[in-house]
Amino acid sequence: MIDALLHAVPLVFAPMNILAMFIGLIAGLIVGCLPGLTVVTGLAVLIPLTFGLDPMFALGMMAGMYNGGSYGGAIPAILMRVPGTPASVATVLDGYKMTQKGQAAYALQVALLSGVIGSVLSSISLILLSPPLVSFSLMFGPIEYFWLGILGLATVSSLLGDDLPKGLIACGIGLLIGAVGQDISNGTERFTFGQLDLLDGFSAIVLLTGLFAVPPVLQIVEEAVKTGMSGDKLKLHRQGSALSQWRFFTPVWIRSSIIGIIIGILPGAGGSMSSFLAYNEAKRVARNPETFGHGNPEGVAASECGNGADNAASLIPALALGIPGSGVAAVILGGLLVHGLRPGPQLFREHPDIVYGFMLQFLVTSLLLAIVGGLAATRIFGQVLRLPRIVLAPVILLFVTVGVYSVNNSLFDLWVLLGVGLIGYVLERLDYPSAPIVLGLLLGPMVESQLRLALTISGGKTTALLSTPIAVTLALLSAAILLTPAWRLWRERGKTPVVEGAAGR
């Protein structure tokens, strides 16, 4: 591992790759601070634009966007009481109160420093924990990979939404889209309807861009917000140093980072959950819990540190096993595949410089965030908040169009983008999660091919699918994850009177 990290250092610190990380951070900061746009949207716009570029350059931008976007959400949360991303909702509680007390600049500093510390510790956990997981996965054969794929699909379908049937439907849509094209084993054309463009199936990049970048455009048009933030709010002046109060904040940072990292690794969790749990924990152990929600800087520190700490950690199962633990990780997984990098042991064996370089880029961008997110930079990049949101809708669409077209030089892809985007909008409105669709598309072909291989090796005996302890464990885990929502519902019904329709929005 040390050798691979040392080999990756020159790549990471190549001038162009440092530039990529800066660009990614700034873009992430802007996307994060724009309410209605999430890191996932930003990545969905970014990935097609980076197609064809050097992988380290592209991955540096992705790492930057993830870390930048994670902090960017805190800016409107603190200044405007509008969380830029779902993960910064907990930051609003104390951050905006601090702004009302005239401590906006201090609140932003606390948020930034806490986010940086959480992100750095998360990146270190990614570097330290991924290799052991990869070593474990070397024991896997076709049967285990089949179940691993099923576990990933079950996890994302079951845990990334409130409604298991809708999660499973989303997963099914992804699996079916993944089945379009020529069957590799015998050349049968499935669901191509004579279209040459569909012979290789749908492009993952077009699908994930349509699903995550087009619905926000329609939402912005629907909301039609015609005014921006007042420029006065960006007149920020230094108010003390959060760094000089490190003794005060250290216990919050340690607790919140541990919570964020654990939540990040756990499949289906992350984002708002880690920031809320970190916030609640800080409040629980505080000497004056009643001050939380009234402008306590510890609340901002806990929320932003927990939020930053789950970023890189959510990539541990994604990079090591190819099983993303969150929606963002699923999109990054798609981004890696677009550059011909299939996560898992093979990636660590064949491209150690790139995979360790990517992990280092997370660490470096976490540190660079301290510069890019500083007060001076916030004054500059925060200007985007003064733009009325409605003018941003067409801008997003322009970047998406250029990016998607340039992947295959295909106008057909633009129509696919539109179709997928409209379907994505409907799914979002009806609370069908989008991440399982991407995962179904990415893992479906692997699940099918490993299942066929396993059955061929065993002579068609289906009992062989449960012939190894790892396979049985993965199968039981998948079943447990799928049964969790039903069990939770049954427990809740046992405790409270049944309220029909309560599962709704």
């Binding site: 309410p35 439907i169 089945a179 329609l218 048009v221 015609k226 409605i390 801008v395 169009t401």
Partner: protein
């Protein structure tokens, strides 16, 4: 998206019919998938047929669940569209934009979209829209076409762009 206690879905509006309609479309699509896949060789058909069956069953479940909720007087709350006329404008703009891009290329439809889409939903600061449109299109051309040499859809202005190179 401001965090207020009132920020929940509008009361009294139901998206129940949209839920049932979409679930029905899913079931119909699943049946079509099963029918189509059944014509493939068994080896290639098994996987999509299995997924199709699963989706059809779950789609029926979702539709039936919502029908039962309606019968009990507790349909799914929340509206499907926040503002249906503006949503229709957005969808129409997207379709028109992609059709125009297919016909005359990227530049002119992009400029038009940046100016006309905000105007169509009531944004009247034309000067700002025009500045954003021009800056955005020039930036895209400068970065992607000239610096990165990436293709854009075939454009009626391509001969002029060639001269600029």
């Amino acid at each position: 998206m401001e965090v207020t206690p009132e920020a929940s879905a509008p009361q009294g509006r139901s998206r129940s019919l949209a839920e049932i309609g979409f679930a029905t479309i899913l079931v119909a699509t699943s049946v079509a998938v099963i029918t189509t896949a059944s014509t493939y060789p068994a080896e290639s058909a098994a996987y999509p047929v299995a997924i199709g069956i699963g989706m059809a069953v779950i789609g029926c479940w979702i539709a039936l669940r919502e029908i039962l909720r309606r019968q009990r007087g507790n349909p799914m709350q929340g509206s499907f569209a926040e503002h249906a006329p503006r949503l229709a404008i957005g969808v129409a703009a997207l379709v028109a934009y992609f059709a125009a891009v297919s016909l005359i290329g990227f530049i002119l439809p992009s400029l038009a979209l940046c100016v006309l889409l905000p105007a169509a939903v009531g944004f009247q600061r034309w000067r700002l829209s025009v500045v954003v449109a021009v800056v955005c299109v020039i930036s895209i051309l400068a970065i992607f076409v000239y610096a990165l040499e990436r293709p854009i859809p075939p454009d009626v202005l391509s001969p002029y762009l060639g001269r600029l190179k």
